[in-house]
Structure formats: structure tokens, C-alpha cells
């Protein structure tokens, strides 16, 4: 078994996670992420289990809230927490058009 991920494999995983990595991190994580992926491989050795799944361990039926308007926060209070905002709007950078380095 190889002991580290290839650069491409690691960058693929980082892309899935939307995290940019430094060169130093790439080198370190090629080994660390591989180790963690090897750990989870052990699940393949478990046999004889039941197909039924436990998504979360609560023992009661899920109960939904009644569909009515409850307590609300002041929109200003919430919007103010955004790094960039203007009035009651949150500002975001351009979504289409300019690409990196353009």
C-alpha cells in the first residue's frame, strides 16, 4: 500500500472541501489524509452486519414544529454580522465573469 496520496488526489479532495492549500500543507496532508483514508478502509473488513441503518440515535418519532410564525430576529441584527452588507442586503463578490487572474 502506498503511504501517501498523489498531489492530484489530494487537490481533488481539497477542491471538494473548497479549501485552498499551501505547498507546505500539500506535502503534509498527502501523508495525513492518506492515513485517515486508510483508517476508514477498515470498515470494509466488517462483515455479517444488518442492512438497517441508524441515521441518528433518537428513539422517538420525529416531531415537526407546528407551521406558524414564531419569534423572529431583527433582520438588521443578523445582516450586520455579514462581513459586507448594505442596507438589508448581504454583498457578495462577482459570481460569473471575472475569473482568477483575469
Amino acid at each position: 500500500m502506498k503511504d501517501k496520496l498523489s498531489r492530484e488526489e489530494l487537490l481533488h479532495v481539497a477542491e471538494l472541501a473548497r479549501i485552498e492549500l499551501t505547498e507546505e500543507e500539500i506535502e503534509k496532508y498527502q501523508i495525513h489524509i492518506k492515513k485517515l483514508l486508510d483508517d476508514v478502509e477498515k470498515i470494509k473488513d466488517v462483515e455479517g452486519y444488518d442492512e438497517e441503518q441508524l441515521i441518528a440515535p433518537w428513539s422517538e418519532n420525529t416531531h415537526l414544529r407546528e407551521d406558524k410564525i414564531g419569534e423572529m430576529y431583527d433582520p438588521k441584527e443578523v445582516i450586520n454580522r455579514a462581513p459586507k452588507h448594505s442596507g438589508n442586503y448581504i454583498e457578495v463578490p462577482v459570481v460569473v465573469g471575472e475569473s482568477e487572474g483575469a
Binding site: 485517515l36 470498515i43 444488518d50 441503518q53 433518537w58 422517538e60 463578490p93
Partner: protein
């Protein structure tokens, strides 16, 4: 005179008799914290507000046991108007616009929040060393870890800065640091305490619980934070109850199972000797203790890694630099904003877990890893339920070793998971678990016993834990010498 070392009921009596005021307690708490500054138990103190609150309470009737009592709150539980960081750079400027449900509950009782305690970043780790604010130090030896992830809460309780604290437990994060620092910590049954306002890491494991100096006060504090909450759909509709009600009841004729894996060669001899001592005391008092085989127990870490990292990758997708928290200043476009905000905002442990989690959920992997883990998880729960049909409790050590050195290397990415191997089954199954101190190792560091019970049987956990506590009569205050200052 120091008051915060007294039992809660005595402090309450003094308050009622107007011999002391809440402000005396608040001042004492901050004096303690100042004196113990180097232990780094807190990320943010709430001094101004706490003093204001204490003064307001002077005109109010002392209407409950927790009135005016200083409490420490783990920094992943949101507090309105008080910075809440989850020990991450990505939230280090975050002032929540609302209170977590547990915070509303402690405020209703007029407890006074002293500060927000240090922890592993987003509760990912096992030694609190992944904190953006540096790790807390163990009160029994400054060169050792306090454990994690609720390391700050454990530290401040062990130091006797304040009598009560809240922690959270996803894979052992209340119980393991409690063991390393010699305090009592209980992870309630999943659903017992509302998770609303607890910054999510792995939602199907996360649970808030009490961290205290002794068993009785732990039960008292749990009394105040439980209950159904419409804002958490996984919170139980079970009736509230008095968790102290079985404390002092006989344990004669009760049955305890010790899974052989919990006392296997993975555990240090020092700890095994202490466990044997407890077993002896229990047997002398008519408790039946059996060593049993349990299926899947040794697979818990693998399952935890898969499920926790998968849930984490989904939960932490919200940190995008747009709505709140840290944001990269000069992005070229929105993708650039995401990847650079997260690159600068998250620490190493968090990045690794999100990356592995994203991988585990991508395409066919979801079936191979995540779905299979959920199936085995169901089997583990059935296995524990089976054993708990025959036994009152399942018991073992909380940790395999005592607290290790703060400067031990962090170069093995699996280590932070393996540290919690003995306590993760409680999160996997949703069952309650408690740490109770049972002695000290040859290194003079505390050793903890872990006891699990059936769903919603916290009262029974307190019964056995309190019995053991009473039999052992340990001196668990590392600051004994200071008392006479």
C-alpha cells in the same frame, strides 16, 4: 474568605441569608481566573456583563439553588451579545444574535455566565491543542493536556475557579477531559438536552452536558438544562425528572457488564489496577460484575471517523465568508472567496476532517463508507441494548492512559480519534455516559471510570457514580494548599 469552594447548597444558604451577595461570588470567580491565567481555560471573559447582572440580582429574591452562581460555558454554545468562537479563527469576531436554548435556561435561573471556555477548534481533537487560542493546561500538572474537546471547562472546574460548567460531547469531549482533570462529566442521552445554539460538528453525536466537582451537583445542573425544545427536532419529549432522586439508594444486587475490550491491553496497567480496585469495592457491596464479549466495540473508532467527518464536512460548509465570521478581504470571485476564507479561517485538524468527510460523501463513496457505517452503527446500538437488557450498567475506564504531555507530537492524524476509543460507543448509540474520578496514576494524574446506562436513565448513572464517589472519598482539589491563604 472563599465561598466558591463550598457545596452549592451551602452557597445558596448564604445567599438566602444575605450573608453574601452574588457580586461576591462573581468577584471571587474573576480573582480565581486571574490567578490561574496561565492555565488558559477561557477564550472570552464576560466580566462587565457578569458584574452588572450580579448587581441587578441584589434586588431579587433567591428563588432557586443556582441563583447567582457563576457558570462557565464552552465556547461552541452561542451566547447573545457575547463573542462565541468555537476556538476558530473563522469565528473569532462572531457575536451571536441569539442565545442557545441551554443558555436561555441557565439565564432563567439567574446563573451568571463568567466566560466562554477554551476547546478544540469546532470540537475536533482530543487535547484542546487544536484551539486557535492555544491549549488549556492541566491543573494537576501544567505540562500536561487537560484533554478535549471541552478542555477549558474541565480545567476551570478542576481549578475550582467556578463550581459548574457546560461542555459538549461528540465522541467523548465531556467525559475524557473530565477524566484527565479529576472532575465529574456526564453526556446525556441523545435528545435529552436541546442542541439549538450548539455550533454543529457531527449532529447525530453532539450533545451538551454538565461538568462539575461532584456527582450530586452534576445531577442538579442537568435538572436545569434538559427538556423538549421545538427548535431542535431531535430533542426528546420525555418528561423532565429529578436526576438526584436515586442518589443514595442501595446498589446491592445490581449488575454491571465490563466489555473485555475496555480492559484489554490497550489500557495502561496503572488504570487497570484502579479499575480492579473499584470492581472489588462494588463486589464487596453486593454488585455483580461480569466481564463480557461485545460485538463491534472495536470498530467504533472507524465508524466514528466516517460518520463524524462526513457530518462535519456538511455542517461546516456554512462557513463561506459571506454571512458571518472571517472573510478573505480581496477575492477575485466567489469561488476565490470560499477557498481562501476557508484556507485562512480553519486550522489544520478541521481542514483535514472536512477534506476526508467531503471525500467520503462524494459519489459512490457514500455507499461504500457512509451508508455501511450507518448500518453497523445500528448493529452496535442493538448490541448495547441487548447487554443493557441483562445489566444495569456497562463500565470501563474513561481513557486508556492518564493525561499526556502538552508537547507530545501531533504528527499522527489518527491519535485524536484513538484517544476516545473507550467513550465513543456512548455517542455511537446515543446512550448516556458519565466520568467519575477513581484515583491517581503513578504520575499523580487523575484516573476516571466511565459508566454507561440505558437511554434516559441518567438518574441511575448518578446513583452508581455517587456510590463509587462516596466509597472512594478522593481529595480532588489540586488547590488544597491555597485554601488557607
Amino acid at each position: 474568605m472563599r465561598y466558591l469552594n463550598l457545596p452549592l447548597v451551602e452557597i445558596n444558604k448564604l445567599l438566602k441569608e444575605k450573608k453574601i451577595k452574588p457580586i461576591d461570588l462573581v468577584n471571587e470567580a474573576y480573582e480565581n481566573i486571574e490567578k490561574h491565567k496561565e492555565y488558559n481555560a477561557y477564550i472570552t471573559l464576560n466580566k462587565e456583563d457578569a458584574i452588572r447582572q450580579a448587581k441587578e440580582l441584589e434586588n431579587k429574591e433567591v428563588d432557586n439553588l443556582f441563583f447567582g452562581i457563576p457558570i462557565a460555558v464552552k465556547d461552541n454554545i452561542v451566547t447573545k451579545g457575547l463573542r462565541t468562537t468555537a476556538a476558530s479563527h473563522i469565528l473569532d469576531n462572531f457575536i451571536p444574535p441569539y442565545d442557545a436554548t441551554v443558555v436561555e435556561k441557565i439565564k432563567e435561573r439567574n446563573m451568571i455566565i463568567i466566560g466562554k471556555t477554551n476547546m478544540d477548534e469546532f470540537a475536533m481533537g482530543s487535547s484542546s491543542r487544536t484551539s486557535y487560542f492555544g491549549p488549556p493546561k492541566n491543573p494537576w500538572n501544567k505540562n500536561k493536556i487537560s484533554g478535549g474537546t471541552s478542555g477549558g471547562s474541565a480545567t476551570t472546574i478542576a481549578l475550582r475557579d467556578v463550581p459548574i460548567a457546560l461542555g459538549s460531547d461528540t465522541g467523548g469531549s465531556i467525559r475524557q477531559p473530565s477524566a484527565y482533570t479529576g472532575i465529574v462529566g456526564l453526556k446525556p442521552t441523545y435528545g435529552r438536552v436541546s442542541r439549538y445554539g450548539l455550533i454543529a460538528y457531527a449532529s447525530s453525536f453532539d450533545q451538551i452536558g454538565a461538568m462539575t466537582r461532584n456527582v450530586y451537583e452534576n445531577a442538579l445542573l442537568l435538572n436545569t438544562i434538559v427538556g423538549h425544545d421545538d427548535k431542535d427536532l431531535t430533542s426528546s419529549k420525555k418528561e423532565n425528572e429529578d436526576f438526584t432522586r436515586l442518589i443514595g439508594e442501595s446498589v446491592k444486587g445490581k449488575k454491571i457488564a465490563i466489555p473485555k475490550f475496555f480492559v484489554s491491553e490497550i489500557v495502561s496497567k496503572d488504570i487497570l489496577d484502579n479499575i480492579k480496585q473499584v470492581v472489588k469495592i462494588l463486589e464487596e457491596n453486593g454488585v455483580i460484575v461480569d466481564y463480557i464479549d461485545m460485538k463491534y466495540v472495536e470498530n467504533t473508532v472507524t465508524l466514528y471517523q466516517i460518520i463524524a467527518m462526513a457530518e462535519a464536512s456538511s455542517n461546516l460548509a456554512r462557513y463561506d465568508g459571506i454571512r458571518y465570521g472571517y472573510s478573505y478581504e480581496k477575492p477575485n470571485n466567489i469561488d476565490d472567496l470560499y477557498v481562501k476564507t476557508r484556507a485562512n479561517g480553519f486550522g489544520e485538524e478541521v481542514k483535514k476532517r472536512i477534506m476526508v468527510g467531503s471525500y467520503l460523501l462524494s459519489g459512490e463513496n457514500a455507499k461504500t463508507y457512509y451508508n455501511k457505517a450507518l448500518s453497523i452503527r445500528d448493529d452496535i446500538r442493538k448490541e448495547f441494548k441487548r447487554v443493557l437488557n441483562d445489566y444495569d450498567w456497562i463500565m470501563g475506564p474513561t481513557t486508556a492512559t492518564t493525561a499526556y504531555d502538552l508537547d507530545d507530537p501531533m504528527d499522527d492524524p489518527s491519535k485524536s480519534f484513538l484517544d476516545d476509543v473507550l467513550v465513543m460507543p456512548a455517542n455511537m448509540t446515543g446512550l448516556p455516559g458519565i466520568n467519575v474520578p477513581i484515583g491517581f496514576g503513578k504520575d499523580n494524574m487523575p484516573i476516571g471510570l466511565h459508566i454507561m446506562g440505558d437511554s434516559f436513565e441518567e438518574a441511575k448513572l448518578y446513583q452508581i457514580a455517587s456510590f463509587i464517589e462516596k466509597e472512594l472519598k478522593l481529595d480532588l482539589n489540586p488547590w488544597k494548599g491555597e485554601e488557607n491563604e
